[in-house]
Amino acid sequence: MPDLIRELFSYTFILRALTVGMLVSLCSALLGVSLVLKRYSMIGDGLSHVGFGALSAAMAMNLAPLQVSVPVVVAAAFLLLRISENSRIKGDAAIALISSSSIAVGVIVTSLTSGMNADVYNFLFGSILAMSRGDVLLSVVLSVIVLLLFIFFYNKIFAVTFDENFAKATGTKAGIYNMLIALLTAVTIVVGMRIMGSLLISSLIIFPALSSMRIFRSFRGVVVTSAVISVICFFFGIAASYAFDTPAGASIVITNLLAFGVCCLAGLIPRGEKE
């Protein structure tokens, strides 16, 4: 095991992926708790598909991938939020509509320009080779901003997640904080998508939150453990992917799935509530 870790750290591309990936795991786990509790899990999934479309279009036009997809996905986040606030059932359908349309646009654009190739595969399922040095820098900056904003607005996010009506009634601008959550989610997804792939990135948002909710009963407890679980799973996912020569994104999802199973079992153990 120590040998494996030493080997891992000797590759620049793995170090890059670990740096960005662990930051993204942290951000997505924090946001994920709120998204899952607000019943917004589907928004994360929808956004990652929009990200695929944007990324493909950017590549086809030879534009910088992150700089193009961040604004597109942020715009989509606001749109999806609008839709799901208005009516739940229609919102679900609208998200599915936007998701599949974005994938379709992405596939068509790519096949007309460079042809269906390894790029498309990488966009869908992720690649740890995808990050250039510039990407890493931008990703780190974005993740740190997401992290700081989350900590800064933690109490507001809690209030808006627990009871939007009460928050609104007592003068908290719930709409703004919902938009903030959507904005941070959009940025996190775009940054993480390169490594995880657009089909798999939403697992980073949903799994850690669900896992920690099996065990912990306070919001802070859930948020903190969710972040810890997420970062650990990302690391072991990458290690497993290296050791067994499996795709990184998929390995990370499976690690998260295993962690979820462990948490489910741990949650079944009866225990006295501490006073």
């Binding site: 627990f162 009460f166 609104k168 007592t170 919001f219």
Partner: protein, 251 residues
């Protein structure tokens, strides 16, 4: 100048008109109960007062010194909350959010205020417990504590006794009355009209059958009041007589 003055308020819910030309006034220190049948628009009216739903016509004005941000609100519980991972303290503390403005964190002052409110409601010992593991009565007290954290002068309570047993309900009403006696204005939606006339000094009755706004004494003499009280005591008698049948084995 009244704390709240509503003039000819009309509101609709999902495009159906539910309230027509409602007018009432709440003075500092009042205890107003809003009564009426199910679906008469009581919650809609409360959301109108809080600015959560638009008015179709009419106006709701607040008196000087009443800031819409400093109204304590006890909403009906949502589905999300029933399974929400949060401690009692976290939930109650979130009521202080309007006190910290743009500051990111709560200070010792807000935490003290939250603890004081929890203790006043007799749930100080539950502060580390998980909110979703509490009984309905305890959850309601937590939400009342949160409302008190937010409120300086005015609390709006939407059916606070829903799902509570008679003893817990009685305690809750006593707590609300005490609160009112310390000068906090109380506006409460209730379908328990008997408790309403016992506790409140003003009654607003809305609904298709009858409309009334005035003091509790006037309400008791009014046609609407007499009829509604008769109906609700009939319903309660019916409930008691069925309970009576199983009484002996329940002790």
């Amino acid at each position: 100048m009244p704390q709240i003055s509503a003039r000819k308020v009309s509101m609709s819910y999902e495009k159906k008109p539910v309230l027509e030309d409602i007018s009432f006034e709440v003075e500092q220190g009042d205890y107003l109960c809003i009564v009426g049948e199910n679906g008469s628009g009581k919650t809609t009216l409360m959301k109108g007062i809080l600015g959560l739903m638009p008015l179709k016509s009419g106006s709701i004005r607040f008196g000087e010194g009443v800031n819409v941000n400093h109204i304590g609100y006890l909403p009906q519980q949502t589905v999300v909350q029933k399974d929400f991972p949060a401690s009692v303290f976290e939930v109650a503390l979130s009521g202080c959010l309007n006190r910290i403005g743009l500051k990111p964190f709560y200070s010792a002052q807000e935490k003290k205020r939250t603890l004081r409110n929890l203790e006043m409601l007799g749930i100080g010992n539950l502060k580390h417990k998980s909110y979703k593991s509490l009984s309905a009565g305890q959850q309601q007290r937590v939400l009342l504590a949160r409302a008190l954290c937010a409120a300086e002068k005015l609390v709006l309570l939407d059916e606070p006794a829903t799902g509570l047993d008679p003893i817990v309900t009685g305690e809750l009403y006593r707590i609300i009355r005490n609160l009112n006696q310390t000068g906090v204005t109380v506006v409460m939606i209730s379908h328990d009209v008997r408790a309403a006339v016992e506790n409140a000094n003003k009654i607003l009755h809305i609904g298709s059958s009858a409309e009334f706004f005035g003091s509790t004494e006037e309400y008791l003499r009014s046609e609407a009041g007499k009829k509604f009280l008769r109906q609700s005591s009939r319903a309660e008698n019916a409930a008691e007589s069925t309970e009576g049948g199983t009484g002996p084995c329940r002790i």
